[in-house]
């Protein structure tokens, strides 16, 4: 399990966004970073749209439709890795 820390600015931003905008939770994001958003029911079809808009606005990362996949958007860890790859120009995985 990975938790919030100052060394993980992308993960922190994702957690904060989900807690505030998808979970409406005052307790913050209480799941582990590798927990599946889908299996836990954390995001629905609107949540997917929200996350895609969020990574564009927050990190300048534009996701193509084919990239909006569980491999990239199904957990905090996967989404953070996707953002890093896109920011780094690594297109191999996406």
């Amino acid at each position: 399990m990975t938790n919030a820390s100052q060394a993980q600015p992308i993960e922190n931003a994702i957690r904060e966004f989900i807690a505030a905008n998808l979970l409406y939770s005052a307790e913050g994001f209480t799941y582990a970073d590798d927990v599946s958003f889908m299996q836990e029911g954390i995001i629905d079809s609107l949540g997917v749209v929200e996350l895609v808009a969020f990574v564009q606005k927050q990190f300048g990362v534009i996701a193509d439709q084919q990239e909006v996949a569980p491999d990239n958007f199904d957990s905090v860890a996967k989404l953070a890795a996707f953002v890093r790859r896109k920011q780094g120009g690594d297109q191999a995985k996406v």
Partner: protein, 331 residues
């Protein structure tokens, strides 16, 4: 249980009798209503429900209402009239275009589309629809909606939707289903009849309906049937061929849109078998062998079915009511 490609086959005669009794008992004895009102769209589900309602109450106590609006495909009304004639009823036509204009439905929706496609202009022949990525089995994409615009020259272009546009387009479009529900209740209440719902298992369990729209009815007599089973009943009941052969459509957006591209992402023949297998705890490996897919493909479908059911649970919930507070202890 032995799972096979025939697992969805039902005895249409027995199932028809069972549903007819269910309608009669609930509408007459529980609701104290004497007949049924069905919104007939020219689609397979409402056709089957109309036929069942006629069996339950007779044509004199069955009302079929066609409720088109300006984006409806004209073929829908034609098929609905064929259906009504086949089962001996005189359909009622109620256009809701004026009501929707009163709600500002079209302007609200088109304003949202124009934020994605500034050139979109309904008056110039542009049409639009919402779509999900295709080929659920081939690519593990998520249910990420885009808007597709059909231009006056017939070419199509899709762009992803932002959250605000997605919500506004859906909210405006849902005014259509809710207006239809109001019209159906007008005709039901004016006769002391019940509104007979037309949602099948796919729509009900996966949340492919509008709460208090097409989900608003007094009874849901086919909500336990997979779409492919609805077709079996349609064949048995003698629903007109044109309706049986029509590709299931939402008939909600101005551009032609089938239910596969809007919501299900799979042909019903495949989806229903996969779903039946999931319901009966058939492993992905076993289902894959029977259906002729890979295990990965089956698992993708299982995940999508499970996800949609879970994330649409609130649509099926009645409004929560707080129980009375416990009495204060006697002092």
């Amino acid at each position: 249980m032995q799972f096979s490609k025939k697992s969805l086959n039902l005895d249409p005669s027995l199932e028809t009798d069972r549903i007819v009794r269910f309608i009669q008992q609930n509408v007459r004895q529980t609701m104290r209503r004497s007949g049924g009102v069905v919104g007939i769209s020219g689609g397979i589900d409402s056709a089957v429900v109309l036929a069942l309602t006629v069996r339950a109450f007779g044509p004199q106590k069955t009302v079929g209402v066609m409720i088109p609006e300006k984006d409806s495909d004209p073929i829908s009304e034609k098929l609905a009239r064929e259906l009504a004639a086949k089962f001996g009823i005189t359909p009622i036509l109620e256009s809701i275009t004026g009501a929707l204009q009163g709600f500002d439905c079209y302007r609200r929706r088109d304003d949202a589309i124009r934020r994605v496609f500034p050139e979109f202009d309904d008056a110039k022949g542009y049409k639009a629809k919402l779509v999900l990525p295709p080929d659920l089995l081939e690519a593990g994409t998520l249910n990420f909606f885009s808007v597709t615009v059909v231009k006056p020259d017939g070419s199509e272009e899709s762009r992803p939707l932002g959250p605000r546009e997605f919500l506004e387009i859906v909210a405006a479009s849902n005014l259509k289903q809710r207006s239809r529900m109001s019209m159906l209740y007008y005709h039901a209440e004016a006769r002391n009849f019940a509104v007979i719902g037309t949602g099948n298992k796919n729509e009900h369990d996966q949340g492919f309906f509008v709460k208090y729209g097409d989900g608003g009815a007094d009874i849901q007599p086919i909500a336990h049937l997979f779409k492919t089973q609805v077709y079996q009943l349609a064949h048995y009941l003698g629903v007109p061929e044109g309706i049986q052969k029509r590709t299931p459509t939402t008939d909600t957006y101005s551009a032609p849109q089938n239910q596969k591209e809007f919501f299900y992402r799979l042909p019903f023949e495949t989806l229903d078998l996969l779903w039946f297998a999931l319901d009966h705890e058939v492993t992905a490996g076993e289902a894959a062998k029977v259906i002729g897919l890979s295990e990965v493909q089956v698992q993708r479908a299982y995940d999508d079915i499970t996800r949609k059911h879970r994330t649409t649970e609130y649509l099926r919930l009645l409004p929560p009511v707080l129980p009375p507070a416990a009495s204060a202890p006697a002092s």
